[in-house]
């Protein structure tokens, strides 16, 4: 029943780079062998302690099959996203993925409050990605999970992994304790710049202890879903206005799963007020929009779909056809299949850029 369609394969001949694939643990104890004995003990005795405000407030299910494609549960058990063969069969093969970037969200160190455990979980997650996924499937690449609230440990983890080209970016949660432009995170950016790796910001299931919107908790998941946009917008503004890109001119940031339709409006608004507030932020040498256009890249899923498709084309014209990457979000329920998800006209060149070439260049894939 889950067999990919033969026709579909023929339609999608172009090789694609997918910037958002979620690997899952087959069993709850899957990370244990990758943890040092001291933290294995701790983890088994005390479990994790994440930065979450309301118990289970943002737990799945969001829509169906615990937030997953209902057809993505492996037949031999385990959660969606935990079976490499099924990933190949449902996604990598039929849509012709040349490279797929892993976004390991579950039980990494990004949200853990205990600094030692956060560092240990990040490290374990990174080793696990290579061991279970990248080594087995040469099309996959890992993202370095870091204990982002403990920058010193995050820097150490970046330095541990950075020489290995199987890691292509540094992952940060878009639900940090403070907006990411805050000085306390700067050592992470310094390490990223030194390593020559982009930062990939991805929403995690939890909210870092904050209500998921700036004005409290939404009632419906449909409300919750748009919040990915609001938090990305806040982080983009924070990185720009707090001077991160002025201080780290080679830093590159990819916003994953946060949409991009809002980018021009944010830039216009920041630019408009910049003239009046410039002596408050004298560290900024250029208009906010210039930092945005130079340092930020965007992924497509879930792509905005205006009723008039040319409206989205105008937005892409504004942000630049070389700054957008295809992403699928496999195996989540709002998965985007490249043959169907883009309901606007593109030239061959534009298509090649979005589906492959832009990501090949930024992540230096080969």
């Amino acid at each position: 029943m889950n067999a990919p369609f033969i026709e579909q394969k023929a339609r999608q001949t172009l090789a694609v780079v997918d910037c958002d694939i979620h690997p899952a643990h087959r069993t709850p104890g899957e990370l244990l062998p990758y943890l040092e004995p001291r933290w294995r003990e701790h983890y088994q005795t005390h479990g994790v302690h994440v930065r979450q405000a309301l118990p289970s407030a943002l737990m799945y299910p969001r829509m169906m099959a615990a937030g997953m494609r209902a057809d993505s549960l492996p037949e031999n058990g385990g959660p969606a996203g935990s079976d490499l063969d099924l990933l190949r069969k449902q996604h990598l093969d039929p849509v012709n993925v040349e490279f797929g970037l892993l976004m390991a969200l579950s039980k990494g160190g990004m949200e853990e409050r205990n600094p030692g455990l956060a560092a240990a979980l990040s490290r374990a997650t990174n080793d696990w990605q290579i061991d279970r996924w990248v080594r087995e499937e040469p099309r996959l690449r890992a993202g370095i999970v870091v204990p982002q609230e403990f920058p010193e440990a995050a820097v150490a983890e970046i330095e541990r992994c950075a020489g290995d080209r199987r890691y292509v970016q540094i992952m940060l949660s878009s639900r940090p304790s403070d907006p990411l432009g805050h000085r306390r995170y700067w050592p992470i950016y310094e390490a990223a710049e030194r390593a020559g790796l982009p930062i990939g910001l991805h929403p995690v299931g939890y909210n870092g202890g904050h209500p998921s919107t700036g004005s409290g908790w939404p009632t419906f998941y449909l409300q919750e879903h748009y919040v990915f946009v609001a938090c990305m917008e806040a982080l983009a503004a924070s990185l720009i206005i707090e001077g991160v890109f002025e201080r780290f001119p080679k830093l590159k940031v990819v916003l994953v799963e946060g949409g991009f339709g809002w980018a021009p409006a944010l830039a216009w608004r920041m630019d408009k007020h910049f003239e009046k507030f410039r002596n408050e932020v004298a560290h900024l040498k250029r208009r906010p929009s210039e930092y945005l256009r130079e340092h930020i890249w965007w992924t497509t899923q879930p792509i905005e779909e205006p009723a008039q498709s040319r409206h989205i084309v105008e937005i892409i014209d504004w942000i630049g056809w070389d700054r957008l990457f295809y992403s699928s979000d496999y195996p989540h329920w709002d998965y985007d299949n490249p043959s169907f998800a883009f309901k606007f006209p593109m030239t061959e060149e534009q298509r090649r850029k979005i589906f492959r070439d832009n990501a090949m260049a930024l992540y230096r894939l080969a």
Binding site: N2, F5, M64, R69, A70, D71, D334, A341
Partner: protein
Amino acid sequence: MSRHVVCPAAELPPGTRKVVVIDGREIGLFNVEGRLHALLNRCPHGGAAICSGVVTGLSQSSGPGDYRLERRGEFLRCPWHGWEFDMATGQSWCDPRRTRVRSFEVRRETGGDLVMGPYVAERYHVTVEDTYIVVDL
């Protein structure tokens, strides 16, 4: 239009489904409380193998605070983005104007009516007294 004998009716009792390949096309057969539906196994929205979706109804509301589940068992919800399709017509509930799943004629016929020549009986190793499910493409 070509007629295809798919299986004995007993192989598709109420509450079950079956995906078959007919003329190179994957088609999902459903028996919902005795009603038969045949749909192309491909979601017109984003390409999912739709026939693994959940059979459901529609929740309806006349305003906040009022929720009813209606037309139970008449809709198929796509396993990816959850669009609902009316199984009898293939019509999408999310975008009824433009999107529908291809649906096919499906019915039961008795073996006696199906045996036009020796081939049918031979090919399917069946006894002609039974009832069979037949799809028209």
